[in-house]
Symmetry: C2
Subunit: 296 residues, 2 copies
Amino acid sequence: MDIKRYLEQKRDEVDRFLESVIPGAATPPTTLHESMRYSLFAGGKRVRPILAIASAEAVGATSKAILPVASSLELIHTYSLVHDDLPAMDNDDYRRGKPTNHKVYGDAMAILAGDALLTLAFELCSRSDLMDGLDPARQVQIVRELAYGSGNLGMVGGQVLDIQAENKDIDLATLQNIHKHKTGMLIRAAVRMGAITAGATSPQLDSLTKYAEDIGLAFQIADDVLNVTGTREELGKDANTDAKRGKKTYPTFYGVDGAKKMADECTQRAISRLSSFDAKADPLRELARYITSRKN
Amino acid sequence: MDIKRYLEQKRDEVDRFLESVIPGAATPPTTLHESMRYSLFAGGKRVRPILAIASAEAVGATSKAILPVASSLELIHTYSLVHDDLPAMDNDDYRRGKPTNHKVYGDAMAILAGDALLTLAFELCSRSDLMDGLDPARQVQIVRELAYGSGNLGMVGGQVLDIQAENKDIDLATLQNIHKHKTGMLIRAAVRMGAITAGATSPQLDSLTKYAEDIGLAFQIADDVLNVTGTREELGKDANTDAKRGKKTYPTFYGVDGAKKMADECTQRAISRLSSFDAKADPLRELARYITSRKN
C-alpha cells in the first residue's frame, strides 16, 4: 500500500471534518475561535486521528462515528501544544513554522484557546448526532479513554514529569516514564478509541494496545533523534533545542545511531503485535514504519 | 427547611466523594496531585454540585450517580479559578483566603493542574462504575451538557469576553452577555445535569433550565454587589477589585441598591419557574434565596 497517499487522504478527511464542526472565526467570541483555528489548522500531520482511523479499519468497521472520535484526539493534541509553548512552560516562539499561539494572540487568549480546545474534544465525543448509531455504552467508554490518556495519569502527568526533569541528571527509567506518559498515553488512547468505535473484541483490544505502546515509544525516540538531526526547515521549529535546554533524551543515553536502532526495534515489535490481524491492518503496519522514518 | 444545614450536609457529601476519587498527594506525579488538591480543597462552597443534587431531588430520583455528576462541576469550577488567577489573566494573589495556586506551585504547575482538573471532570462523568446503572445514553448527554456549558460557547467564551471588556466602556447588553456565559452557562449545566441524571421529563427540564438561567443572573449580580460591599475577610480575597480594574458591573449601571433589587427580582422569577414542582423542589427554592443573601 501507498502509505503517503493513505496519510494524505485521511488527513484531508480529518481536516474537512474538523472544519465542519469547529465554529468559524466569525462566530463570537471571534478572537477565541480565531485563536483555536490558528493552532488547529497550522498544518498538523493528524497522526493521532489517523492512528484511530487505521485501528478501526484493522478491526473492520466503517462507522462514520470514527471521524468525531478521531478528531477529538487532534483537539487534545493541539491544546497541549498551545499550553506547552507558553512562556510559563517551554517558552517556544515557533511551532510548525509559524509563530506560536501566544505570540499572535497573547498569553491569556492562548490559555483560554487551549482550555476551549480541550473541552471541545469531549464535546465532540459526546455528540450523539455525529455517532452514526454507535452504542452509547461504547461512546461513554471512548470518552473515558480520552480523559484517562490525556489527564493527570496520562499526557498532563507526563508534561509535569518533563518539566520537573529539566536541567536534572535523570536516569533512563525516569526518561522512559516521562515519554510513556507525555506521548505514549495519548497514542494508546487513539488506538484504543478507534478499536472501541469499531467494536473490537477483548483480545483484539489487547493486541492493539500493545501495538500502541510500542509505537508510542518509537514515536518519542524518533522525535528525540529528529531534534538532534533535523533542520529548522524540516521541523518547522527550532532544532537541537533539547541539548540547549540540558534535557536528557534517548540520544543522550544511546547516541543517535543507538537511539535509531531502538526505534526500529520498537517498530518491528509493534508490527509483530498485529499477527492475528489480516490485510485490513496494513495501514497500522505502515504507520509503525512511517513513525521512525519521518523527517518531521 | 434549614438551608444552612442542607448546604453543609451536601457540601460534606461532595467533599467526601471528591476525596475518595481524586488521587492522593502521594500518587505520582505528586506535585501535580498536591497542586490539584490545594485548590480543590481550599474551602469552596460547592454551589454548583449542590445545585445539581437539588435539581435531581426536585425531579425525585435518588441515584448514587448524582455524586460523580455533581462533583465534576466543582472540578470545572476549580480549574477555571486556577487559570483565571494566573498572572497572564487576572493576576490574583489570594483566593478563598489563601495564596492562589500559581503563587504556591508556580505558573507552569498551575496551568497543568488546571488542565488536569478539567480533564478529570470528564473522566468522572465517563466512569460507568460510579453511575449506579445510569442509562449510558443519559450519561453521554450529561457529558455533553458539561462540555457545552464550560467550553467555547459557555464559560470559557465568557471569560474571553470578560478579558476583552476590561478597561473598555461596555454597555449593559455586553455586560449581560459576559455574565450569561462566564457564570450562567455552568450553573445552567449544573441544574440540567442533575435533572438529566434523575430522568427529568422534557417539560421538567425546560422549567429547571429557566430556573437556572434566572439564578445564574442573580448569582452574578450578587457577586458584583459583594465585590463592592464585602470586606477582604468576608470574601477571602481582595475587595473592590472590579472598580480598581475599571471593570463595569451591575452596580456601575444601577448602583448598589438598584443591583440588589435586580438580584431579588431574578430570585423571585426563578422560584416562580418551579410552580409545577412539589416540596421536593424546596432546596432549589431556598438555594435561589441563598444566592442573593450570601456574604461570600
